[in-house]
């Protein structure tokens, strides 16, 4: 049996991917650092990591939906809706403790996610269509709940600002939250039955039926989690940028998808890891930050985002084709004996 050599080869490839991301990170850092030395300052890194932290855990939620073979396009709108709702509640009740606001935002997100999950799981509507529709609906609701009055800097209470600014054990709250969510998600996805069922379902939906995996429940679960993380992210977002507007986190779904794809999550489902997504987010965060530092205008930023997604997908296609070819060549079809 050659399975050991398959394994070592596979491991090698996986390693190469993470190594690849690492190399790209270094190259980008050097280039940008040469152009603009501000890049290497602690303040810039803190800024960037704070941005990447929110992106990281929302991308982890996104990853779960992509692993099932679906997608959640509504995350950006959920961030905005949760952020706006919480912002307004805070403006009207400045005495409310921030913890309550965080909980409220998370519950709003969870609600949005459950609606997505019910439509996809029970209603059997395609995830792309479902979340494309709810993306617009939730975005529309942002304007409705705000009655076109944005939450502005003056509305933000001191305690609320502290959510993003504060530290736990010397680590910034946002990074701490991302870290905890990453660890819990890793544990959930790799060490519980439900977590493994998510991978199995995304790998082969028909076979999942054969082992009694309930597709409705899996779908509701992943979209609910994705929505919940986006809702939580919405609160942190407003605390970080000090405003909530109709266009908050507009196009954010693209960033989460990009982080996943860069991190090796297969758009065909069944493959993806928390660690990969963290690396993907880090690289993506650095690139976004660099574009700003180099002084590239916003619409170019979008193009660059799209370009990165494209490169990552092509890279994956080439890689998986090569793996399949290698396996074919090693396969024991012609038995010598």
């Amino acid at each position: 049996m050659n399975s050991r050599s398959y394994k070592s080869r596979l491991r090698e490839l996986v390693r190469r991917r993470e190594f690849g991301i690492f190399i790209i990170i270094v190259i980008v850092m050097v280039l940008v650092g040469l152009r603009n030395p501000i890049f290497f300052t602690g303040d810039n890194w803190k800024d960037m990591l704070m941005y990447a932290s929110i992106l990281a855990f929302i991308s982890i939620g996104q990853m779960m939906t992509i692993v099932t073979g679906g997608i959640d396009l509504s995350v950006g709108s959920v961030v905005a809706l949760s952020g706006m709702s919480v912002g307004i509640i805070m403006r009207d009740n400045p005495a409310l403790p921030p913890v309550v606001l965080i909980l409220l935002g998370t519950v709003f997100g969870l609600g949005c996610g459950i609606i997505n999950g019910l439509l996809i799981g029970k209603g059997k509507v395609h995830p792309l269509i479902t979340t494309l529709a709810t993306m617009s609906i939730y975005r529309g609701l942002v304007v409705v709940v705000s009655r076109s009055r944005w939450v502005v800097y003056g509305d933000i209470t001191k305690g609320f600002k502290l959510i993003a600014r504060g530290n736990i054990l010397g680590i910034n709250n946002l990074m701490f939250a991302a870290l905890i969510i990453a660890v819990v998600s890793y544990y959930f996805l790799n060490h519980t039955r439900k977590g493994r069922e998510i991978y199995a379902y995304g790998d082969h939906q028909e076979a999942a039926k054969f082992v009694g995996i309930n597709s409705t429940r899996i779908n509701i679960l992943v979209y609910a989690l994705s929505g919940m993380l986006a809702g939580f992210g919405g609160v942190l977002w407003v605390s970080r940028v000090h405003t909530a507007q109709a266009n908050t986190a507009l196009g954010y779904e693209m960033q989460t998808i990009a982080s996943c794809v860069i991190g090796g999550v297969s758009i065909f489902g069944g493959v993806g890891s928390v660690f990969g997504v963290l690396l993907g987010t880090l690289l993506f965060g650095i690139i976004l930050n660099s574009l700003e530092l180099i002084g590239i205008v916003d619409f170019w930023k979008l193009s660059v985002q799209g370009f990165i997604i494209l490169v990552a997908v092509i890279f994956d296609a080439v890689l998986s084709h090569r793996v399949a070819e290698q396996m074919r060549k090693q396969r024991r079809v012609f038995d010598a004996e």
Binding site: M1, F210, G212, I213, R331, V333
Partner: protein, 498 residues
């Protein structure tokens, strides 16, 4: 003997069609009960009802004297029913061990996390106890087809079930592996397990079964103890009519070779395959699933490129790099899965027939609809496609009629060489006979046909000549006169010393 499982008047309806109608079935403790019938007769549907994947629309199930209803596959598993499915039901990106225990992994009591160490150890020990050599940590996608089939079997056996269902478990196994599987099945029978066995190979049914139940067109034809059953009788029960009309092959004058394959190879798929296909000839290509037949066909059609060997068309060497070139050279390929890439299901019959030849009807980019319709109508009539008209959507046609539309498409495109991959898989018997008649007529008109089929009676009934593949090699060539079921099967199984 005690009754383990009894099904009474089971009925199942799929969007208007009656897949099963009032089917009774019973399984005793310690017996191997074979379930036979043509493709599409309803065997797999019945199995999926027993395993809880489908829910019956009528009738009831009794397990060990108690009425049961299975809302999903896990419920039947919890009642001690395990199954080896015919189609691959494994998770490719997960390890062997995870595939075996998916859904019932051992977990720690409080934290509820999976005990990975125990999982791999248990899987390893179980695999070893079956005297199989597989690494439980290996990813399923790294395995060969036969190894995957073994994993399916191991997975079902690990359930330690009271009832074991084997839905064509032997389709892609080698002879030794089949013997091995049968040894296990007999041992389980002795221990009191009830086994439902589905196979297209009647000799296997006679070899291993205690009783045989025949299903045809969703209805039960009868249940007979094996000792009181003869092959001819069983076939008549299955097919419901005389075999001759099913294979209306006419003698045709065979012409010059049009296609010659020399030492065609693709590593891991097939090795040094050589054969000739002549004008007017139906060349049957037999072999087990996974023997490399489809891969050879796809390579000739340019879907994959050969790594060795040469292809000659009418004596001239050609390079076929993509399907488009193959089409231009007059080669057509009807894939096994029509729905997937043979036809555009949302388009109507006309549009499907004329896709490859639209150029013919268009001037300056405008399609002349009248010409297009006339051409489609001609082939529609020629192939006797049964539909409401040429404007009917292909997706709403029956399997056999879809197959005819694919044929019409290629005939309209003037294909000279037709490669038909499992041309009658999953279509009903009457249409099957019609497709066979059509093949015979096409050969009569001088087309050269390479027919891949896993149904040996079809191979024997329709071919002028038979080539047999086994594990990527062409192992035998048999003339129509000398072909028997046994000779073809023996070659396909690749028994040692032959």
């Amino acid at each position: 003997m005690e009754h383990l499982l009894t099904l009474e008047r089971i009925t199942k309806i799929f969007t208007g069609t009656l897949a099963l109608s009032d089917v009774d079935f019973d399984l005793r403790q310690g017996e191997i009960h074979a379930l036979v019938g043509e493709n599409g007769a309803g065997k797999s549907t019945l199995i999926k009802i027993i395993t809880g994947i489908y829910q019956p629309d009528g009738g009831q199930m009794t397990l060990e004297g108690r009425r049961v209803v299975f809302p999903d596959a896990r419920a039947s598993y919890d009642h001690g029913i395990a199954a080896i499915y015919q189609e691959a039901s494994l998770f490719e990106d997960l390890s062997i061990a995870e595939n075996i225990y998916m859904g019932h992994q051992e977990i720690r009591p409080v934290t509820r996390n999976i005990r990975w160490g125990a999982l791999y150890r248990k899987a390893g020990e179980f695999i070893k106890s079956l005297e199989v050599n597989l690494n439980p940590r290996a990813l399923v996608k790294s395995l060969s087809i036969a190894e995957k089939q073994l994993v399916e079997i191991i997975k079902a056996l690990s359930a330690d079930a009271k009832i074991l269902i084997m839905d064509e478990p032997t389709a892609s196994l080698t002879k030794e592996e089949i013997d091995y599987l049968f040894r296990i099945a007999r041992k389980l029978r002795e221990e009191g397990t009830g086994i439902i066995f589905i196979s297209h190979r009647l000799e296997e049914v006679f070899d291993i079964a205690d009783r045989v139940t025949v299903i045809r067109d969703g209805k039960k034809v009868g249940t007979v103890p094996k000792d009181k059953l003869k092959v001819e009788e069983l076939v008549r029960m299955m097919v419901g009519k005389d075999l001759k009309t099913l294979y209306p092959k006419e003698e045709v004058e065979i012409g010059e070779p049009v296609l010659r394959i020399e030492n065609l190879s693709r590593h891991g798929e097939f090795d040094k395959v050589s054969f000739e296909l002549k004008k007017g000839e139906i060349l049957g290509m037999a072999g087990l699933v996974g023997a490399g037949r489809t891969e050879v066909a796809r390579t000739i059609f340019g879907v994959e490129n050969p790594e060795g060997g040469r292809i000659f068309l009418e004596g001239k060497q050609v390079r076929i790099e993509n399907p488009r070139q193959a089409m231009e050279l007059g080669i057509a390929y009807l894939s096994e899965s029509r729905g997937e890439y043979g036809l555009v299901l949302q388009l109507d019959i006309t549009q499907n027939i004329t896709i490859p030849i639209l150029k013919r009807f268009s001037r300056f980019g405008w399609i002349n609809r009248t010409d297009e319709r006339d051409t489609a109508k001609r082939f529609y009539d020629l192939l006797d496609i049964r539909a409401t008209g040429i404007q009917q959507k292909v997706g709403s046609l029956s399997g056999g009629n879809q197959q005819k539309v694919s044929l019409a498409k290629w005939l309209a495109a003037n294909a000279k060489i037709l490669i038909l991959d499992e041309p009658t898989k999953g279509i009903d018997i009457a249409t099957k006979a019609a497709v066979h008649k059509l093949m015979s007529d096409l050969a009569g008109e001088g087309k050269a046909i390479l027919m891949i089929s896993s149904e040996i009676p079809e191979i024997i009934g329709m071919s002028d000549r038979i080539i047999v593949m086994n594990e990527g090699r062409l192992v035998s060539e048999i003339t129509r006169r000398e072909a028997t079921q046994e000779i073809v099967l023996t070659a396909a199984l690749g028994e040692k010393g032959k």
